[in-house]
Symmetry: C2
Subunit: 418 residues, 2 copies
């Protein structure tokens, strides 16, 4: 089934907010057989909203709208939708009570702009928001559905998870697509395409679609099939066949599937083995630690880390020999190795990872240009190192160094067991 | 002048990639007087591209397209645009040589799919891409302009910065809008709206527009004016008047303007005073360190940090008294204070920040529910603490704790000097 997303708000058109809602909604709806054909971002004006809803209903049976429902004066979506659907706003007693309770709990006064959030279209079914005061609204017209939600991602997701998806599933049950994302680290898009060209051709010949989704340090491969080419289970099997073949050919690079994160995958590997991890970060500056601790439950395997942005910190906290620093410089194989071993010792962890490099944009030399990064992995048996020659972008260098270090440890643990 | 952005790619419609390009482009174009009226994301098919370009040219004098130019087989934008503009593809010798050099430098073989990136529309002006192999293309038709660029943000930004914006400025010079973003930390959207309601009314009465842009821990206020209500300098002055008044009323919360980050602002404050910083992070898990080190030049004031995810690390690396941990637990005012003082001592820094809390989603108790966070700031004179009562979302708790800690130090340093 085809659907559209409309996002409303000048902050999106002025580039002051990045729209993350559309991607999240599209990803959740796909396995339900609801495929987003179009995403349109428009201004928060009556005309823009009326025109776009009208045009979208001509094309699609479902419209999802985010944004334009804030308590402040610049939001007019609710009134405009009431007008479009020929209904009026009424103050909802139950919602009003919850709004008042919500503010009492936070110890803040209830303002009239907050109370006005309880003025809701009489003909809409409410999708309750328990995380904020702007309610979700489900409208129907000529057998088509429009859902309007606030733009705050946390609230929008709550509304959909708490009942929005369920209602959609009941209403439009037509699972028609299957997809699998295969996540790789450390290879370029065209390099993979070349290496796997026979595989890719064969996959396409079987009616499956393939797309490459690159981001710094990673390439995700999306393999998908539509039920119009056969039954769903058959397509799933066909896709799994290609996934396995890809994994067989690129074992060091395929780290997971679908929505997995490399830190989450590594976390599971550590947890299953009752192993622990510590970090010594220089150029990655705490980003590896952030990736690891973003995963719920990380405290069961992550002991901690040192961000040693100065030579003194490397010597004092990680017992790196100051002679090594003098002789080879902080960005060197010798020092990154000493950092990894120092962290492992210091935290008493099974494994340790370390980074040292020139993140940029300044600070490079002819011998060690910006983008020169050393990564090290220490275990009880050995300390392995790798050198990366990255580019001039600080944020890319931080990201790629961090992902490479995490994948280095994943490979170390898994290959030891083969 | 009105413009539109079209982003192309199934990865966007399937939610596998978040579109960050549109926000970046819109933000850069606004001060040039080019205002994005609409952003549309469409499928990578000939029909979708032809229809959307046709419709967009009816509405706007400028179209910016990102995506659909990758080397792999699923991209057909280039051919479709050549068809739309009635031209054909030709292999560009100079581009071909650069592509071959690009791959030689990376030590990778040049594939035929890479060479095909040199097949370019004969009538388009090239906007050269020095970071990848897909070139930017500038088309003209009936006095209107279309720019097509690859979707990789790093390459797209390079193309615009290296000549795209300059060419647009020459072509469409009409600066008509002024805006200022005022960045606040630690207050809710409706709380600010209520506190500043007279200010807001007066601002609107003077023909200026105001919008609230909330994100976890922060609210940005956008004040903008259009030159149709007076000359630009006058509008700038008017906006500055309201900005100053806001800053005067919320001195602890306004931390900067426009594209500033709180870590960047704090970095400047530290650098100007030759002061230094260290960190002891528990629940924020390295995220404060990441925010600080994302700023180029952070090594001149950031000494380093310890991420102490275990009690042992708190005792061993930060000399936290193990009796304190036993008596009060890791999430307590006493322990977070000892962590901050321990980090300051250990790294020999002017200031130190520490966090300890229950990030969630699990691990809470009746006494200390998920979202309970202690933040501490240690200086030579004192150690201040604050307790935050946050929600159940791990990522929000990490973000809000980190931003609160950074703003706590900013306030400490600035208020000392008053």
């Amino acid at each position: 089934m085809e659907a559209e997303i409309i996002t409303i708000g000048d902050e999106l058109l002025l580039g002051q907010t990045i729209d993350t809602n559309s991607a999240w909604l599209a990803e959740q709806l796909f396995p339900m057989g609801i495929r987003i054909q179009r995403i349109t971002t428009i201004r928060d004006t009556r005309d823009a909203i009326l025109n776009e809803v009208h045009a979208a209903f001509k094309r699609s049976a479902l419209i999802l709208i985010t944004g334009g429902l804030g308590p402040t004066r610049d939001d007019i979506t609710k009134e405009t939708l009431a007008e479009y659907f020929g209904t009026h706003l009424e103050r909802n007693r139950e919602v009003l009570e919850e709004i008042e309770r919500f503010f009492r709990q936070k110890g803040r006064p209830v303002l009239e702009v907050n109370r006005a959030q309880a003025d809701l279209p009489a003909d809409a079914t409410l999708l309750r928001n328990t995380r904020g005061t702007a309610q979700g609204m489900w409208f129907e017209k000529d057998g088509k559905v429009l859902i309007s939600m606030p733009g705050v991602p946390y609230e929008m997701k709550g509304i959909m998870n708490d009942g929005g998806f369920e209602r959609l599933r009941e209403r439009f049950n037509s699972p028609k697509f299957v997809q699998r994302l295969v996540l790789t680290q450390g290879l370029g898009e065209s390099y993979i395409a070349d290496l796997m060209s026979d595989w890719e051709q064969s996959l396409r010949n079987e009616g499956l679609a393939l797309a490459y989704l690159p981001s710094p340090g990673l390439v995700r491969l999306r393999i998908s099939g539509s039920a119009s080419n056969g039954d769903l289970r058959l397509i799933e099997e066909r896709i799994n066949h290609y996934v396995k073949e890809l994994e067989r050919r690129l074992p060091h690079h395929v780290y997971g599937y679908d929505r997995a994160s490399i830190a989450g995958v590594l976390g599971n590997i550590l947890q299953e083995r009752s192993a622990s991890l510590s970090l010594a970060e220089s150029c990655s500056g705490g980003y590896i630690s952030h990736l690891i601790t973003a995963v719920p439950g990380a405290s069961s395997y992550y002991r901690g880390g040192v961000v040693c942005y100065s030579n003194e910190a490397k010597v004092e906290l990680l017992a790196v020999d100051s002679e090594l620093l003098k002789k080879h410089g902080a960005v060197s194989e010798e020092v990154v190795r000493a950092m990894a071993m120092g962290a492992r010792e210091r935290f008493g962890s099974t494994y340790a990872l370390a980074t040292s490099g020139i993140a940029g944009p300044n600070g490079g030399s002819d011998e060690k240009p910006v983008g020169t990064v050393w990564v090290a992995m220490a275990s009880a048996k050995r300390c392995a190192t790798a050198k990366l020659n990255l580019g001039k972008s600080r944020s890319r260098n931080i990201t790629i160094s961090s992902l490479s270090a995490l994948n280095m440890l994943r490979n170390e643990i898994l290959s030891k067991e083969l």
